[in-house]
């Protein structure tokens, strides 16, 4: 439809705003024809459609005196309307009832029992639904957090809970595919036993060497055991387990991203921007608890503040002159250059740290502390860079004069690029260094991922207890001291915490092939992180005064998770396709793919054992003759969806306009009908007024 705004003025006459021909009020629902309208009749399920005794005479004087201000001129409607639904007080309903002499006056025991049963059942269902949603872990905490700090902070905790569930799923799959078969079918005879002795120490838990090296935590533990069929052996199960995990995760994360996108960006506009819903339907009348009432007040206040924030920004944006705009774009260009240079510097620092840490030196020459620090140097550098730079990005984005939501999202995008790229560079340099090693490569790689996870958790722990809590104590005890004023009050910075989550989850996915128990470690650390962050938010932070639209950010969170997953898959694929040098593993069989076997050998053996139609199908699917039609089909399907979506959007707009128009028509006709009817009824009372009004105010049509 070409014209977006429908002109309503052509329907406006005095009748729209007040009645010029009758002194009775023209309340829409009190007109005679209201109950006969088909739309009203359709919405009344319980009616006795008996032939009506026409009560078309005017208001009974007795009734009018009772009601006072509540209902001016009650209309005794046709007996099809149930008494309870009438908008008059009980005295009036009583007299109407007496006058109607309704046959169904005696409601009877059976009907009332049925009604009370249905009410009880409804309440039971509601309670069950409430109990089920309370079973979701930490639901109360999330609700309280949302009330105090807004939707954005809650989105972080929701993501945390989602990742815990995801990791639990991974653990279940790993147990089924990898750990289970090894327990039941044993390992190969040449594996080293699992005992605590020799050079092992507690430090191994942090370094991932020694005792931990031989434990089920790492890849080398899972040597092929007695399960040795062609298509069902431990190496194949191991591979299948990892691939299932990655594939399932891909489906889940993509689904969550698209669902979030649909909800927030396409439908969300209607409800979240609609201020009148919040005002009129926002308050929950069932609230009886003072704490819940305060929570609800802050909900509503936060929503309104968000709306006001966006309004003021769009006002400011519209008022920019051309010169201001040019200056702003130039400023943004330079700031982006600054961001790029900072990123380059960070990457060089990480390269330097990786080089330093791989330089082992003579074993035994150095103190254990120095060894620990050197081993952890790359994670320390990465964490330092990831701690410092996002704050700098946040400061930079505040100069770029975007709306607050846009600022948060821009910082988010830059920081995620920083984190994932730094991880990628770290992995790249590890690969290069590890090629020269003679030990079990996979274990070394797994060890690096393990160290990253452990270190991240320790950082979060120290941050909460040794940084945030003292800061809060400082604010409370000495609010006017110089340190307190420099440091300032702290708020829970959602973007940075979310980046941590995404980063750790990506590390977990990259490392799951080499360190199968990483999801289990992930579950434990994420649960601990939940309580640490809950403590940090509820005790140490104040509510942020500026609200940002958290729903758009939560879509971004899931998208970043997807990016991390893709990076993990790419790394794994790259690793598996690497040719293995036979000299590396002549010493001992390392993991499921030891003894000169690799992924392709194992899968090749399995495929050869399949019947020949299956083999030829598989080889066809593998070839490029299949890829081209597949791509073509995908393009066609996508195009059809997109065009259907656009056509639907246009249809929605047309229907909305039609709806508004027909309701205006309906109102107009109802008013006309009523005034004509009243004119008929009271000709002498009404006409002089009508003539006077018509002379003074010409109709505006």
């Amino acid at each position: 439809m070409e014209n977006k705004t429908v002109n309503f003025m052509r329907l406006l006459s005095e009748d729209s705003t007040h009645s010029t021909v009758s002194s009775d009020s023209c309340e829409y629902y009190q007109t005679e024809i209201f109950d006969l309208l088909p739309s009203i009749q359709a919405s009344r399920p319980e009616q006795s459609r008996k032939p009506s005794e026409a009560y078309q005479d005017g208001p009974v004087p007795g009734e009018e005196s009772i009601h006072g201000h509540l209902s001016s001129g009650p209309r005794d409607k046709a007996p099809t309307q149930p008494l309870r639904n009438m908008v008059i007080c009980i005295q009036g309903k009583r007299s109407v009832r007496d006058r109607r002499k309704m046959q169904i006056s005696d409601i009877g025991f059976w009907v009332s029992w049925r009604r009370s049963q249905s009410i009880t059942m409804k309440r039971v269902w509601e309670q069950m639904g409430g109990a089920l949603s309370g079973l979701l872990p930490w639901q109360h905490t999330l609700h309280a957090i949302e009330g105090r700090y807004g939707f954005g902070v809650k989105a972080y905790f929701v993501l945390l809970r989602y990742l815990v569930n995801l990791n639990l799923l991974h653990c279940a799959l790993i147990f089924g595919f990898i750990v289970g078969p090894t327990i039941f079918y044993g390992r190969s005879k040449s594996s080293e036993p699992l005992k605590f002795g020799g050079n092992d120490s507690v430090l191994d838990f942090f370094l991932g060497s020694g005792y931990l090296d031989r434990s089920p935590v790492f890849y080398c533990f899972y040597t092929p055991g007695s399960l040795n069929m062609q298509c069902l052996n431990t190496p194949l199960l191991y591979l299948a387990g990892i691939l299932t995990i990655l594939f399932l995760t891909l489906i889940l994360v993509v689904r969550r991203t698209t669902v979030g996108y649909k909800h927030t960006w396409m439908l969300g506009k209607q409800y979240s921007m609609n201020v009148s819903y919040k005002i009129f339907c926002g308050w929950d009348f069932t609230i009886q608890d003072p704490a819940a009432a305060t929570l609800k007040h802050s909900f509503i206040r936060n929503d309104l503040k968000l709306f006001l924030e966006e309004q003021s920004f769009s006002l400011r944006e519209a008022q920019r002159t051309l010169g201001q705009r040019v200056r702003l774009y130039l400023l943004r260009f330079f700031l982006n250059l600054l961001v790029l240079s900072l990123l380059g510097g960070a990457f060089y620092l990480i390269y330097f740290a990786t080089n330093k840490s791989q330089d082992q030196g003579i074993p035994g020459e150095r103190q254990w502390l120095v060894i620990l620090v050197l081993q952890y140097l790359p994670p320390i550098t990465i964490s330092f860079v990831n701690l410092l730079l996002p704050h700098i990005f946040r400061k930079i984005s505040s100069f770029e004069d975007y709306s607050f939501t846009m600022q948060v999202n821009a910082t988010l995008v830059r920081s995620i690029f920083l984190k994932l790229a730094s991880l990628g560079i770290y992995l790249f340099f590890i690969f290069k260094h590890l090629k020269d090693q003679s030990q079990c490569l996979e274990n070394l790689f797994g060890r690096e991922m393990y160290k990253l996870c452990i270190f991240n958790f320790l950082t979060a722990f120290c941050n909460a207890f040794f940084l945030n809590y003292p800061r809060k104590l400082l604010q409370e005890k000495y609010p006017s001291s110089l340190l307190a004023q420099l440091w300032g009050k702290q708020c829970f910075l959602v973007p940075f915490n979310v980046l941590d989550l995404v980063y750790i989850q990506t590390v977990s996915w990259v490392g799951v092939f080499y360190c199968p128990l990483l999801p289990l470690i992930g579950v434990v650390t994420l649960t601990a992180t939940f309580y640490i962050q809950k403590f940090s938010v509820l005790r140490c932070c104040v509510a942020e005064q500026r609200m940002f639209r958290g729903s758009s950010s939560s879509v971004l969170f899931h998208f970043m998770l997807l990016l991390g997953l893709l990076m993990a898959v790419a790394t794994l694929g790259f690793n598996l396709y690497q040719p293995r040098e036979p000299a590396c593993n002549h010493r001992f069989s390392c993991g499921p793919f030891g003894n000169g076997q690799n992924v392709f050998n194992v899968t090749g053996v399995c495929v050869d054992s399949l019947p020949s139609p299956a083999q030829s199908t598989l080889s066809y699917l593998n070839s490029s003759a299949f890829a081209l039609p597949l791509i073509l089909a995908e393009i066609i399907i996508l195009t059809s969806y997109v065009s259907r979506g656009r056509a639907n959007q246009k249809a929605i707009e047309r229907l909305k306009d039609m709806l508004v128009m027909s309701s205006s028509d309906k109102r107009f006709l109802v008013k006309q009908h009523t005034t004509l009817l009243r004119r008929q009824r009271n000709p002498c009372r009404v006409r002089p007024a009508a003539i006077e009004e018509n002379q003074r105010l010409p109709p505006e049509s």
Partner: protein, 187 residues
């Protein structure tokens, strides 16, 4: 049909059942709650329909209404004199309109009456301003309040008279997803 009670005659109870959404048991329970508010004022025996009204200051102390920012307006809307003094009939009427089985159109009508502070059958900007102040407990500045009110009228007003008539209100509420579940008092 239950134990013998002397609060109401059978005829009165039947009338209540017809005119409200409550059953006999619930009406007797409501009478108990009504009496709790002012035991010295409200008699136990209602068979001769005494004309007793409980002042609004006592009614808003009920736990169902205590935390509601619109409690004064609710009580005023359902009172006959418009000042908030509720007789038992008005009391039952009020909770009947808010109960679960009450239909959407009835709730919409009463919601409109509640939000119409000056009772001119329109929700004008002043009414909106007072509604907003009750909702946010005065945490927004006057300019912010004015901005929100303007936007709200702009969104809901269909006939361009800068105030909301009942049809505008009804139209807006019919599109709101949680009006029915929010506009409900359980007693």
């Amino acid at each position: 049909m239950g134990n013998k009670q002397t609060t109401f005659t059978d005829e009165q109870l039947e009338a209540f059942q017809d005119c409200t959404f409550f059953t006999r048991k619930e009406i007797l329970r409501l009478h108990g709650r009504y009496r709790e508010l002012a035991p010295h004022l409200v008699p136990l025996d209602y068979t001769n329909s005494p004309d007793i009204r409980v002042p609004p200051t006592l009614i808003v102390t009920m736990p169902e209404l205590k935390e509601n920012p619109f409690r004064d307006r609710i009580v005023e809307t359902f009172s006959e004199d418009g000042l908030g003094n509720l007789s038992f009939n008005d009391f039952v009427d009020m909770f009947s309109a808010f109960c679960e089985t009450s239909p959407r159109e009835l709730k919409t009508i009463y919601a409109f009456k509640i939000y119409d502070f000056n009772r001119d059958s329109f929700i004008c900007k002043e009414d909106l301003r007072r509604t907003l102040n009750k909702l946010t407990k005065g945490e927004l500045t006057p300019e912010e309040v004015s901005l929100v009110c303007d936007k709200s009228i702009e969104e809901a007003d269909l006939d361009g008279d800068h105030k909301l008539s009942f049809t505008d209100f009804e139209n807006m509420v019919s599109k709101a997803p949680d009006f029915l579940s929010n506009f409900h008092i359980r007693i």
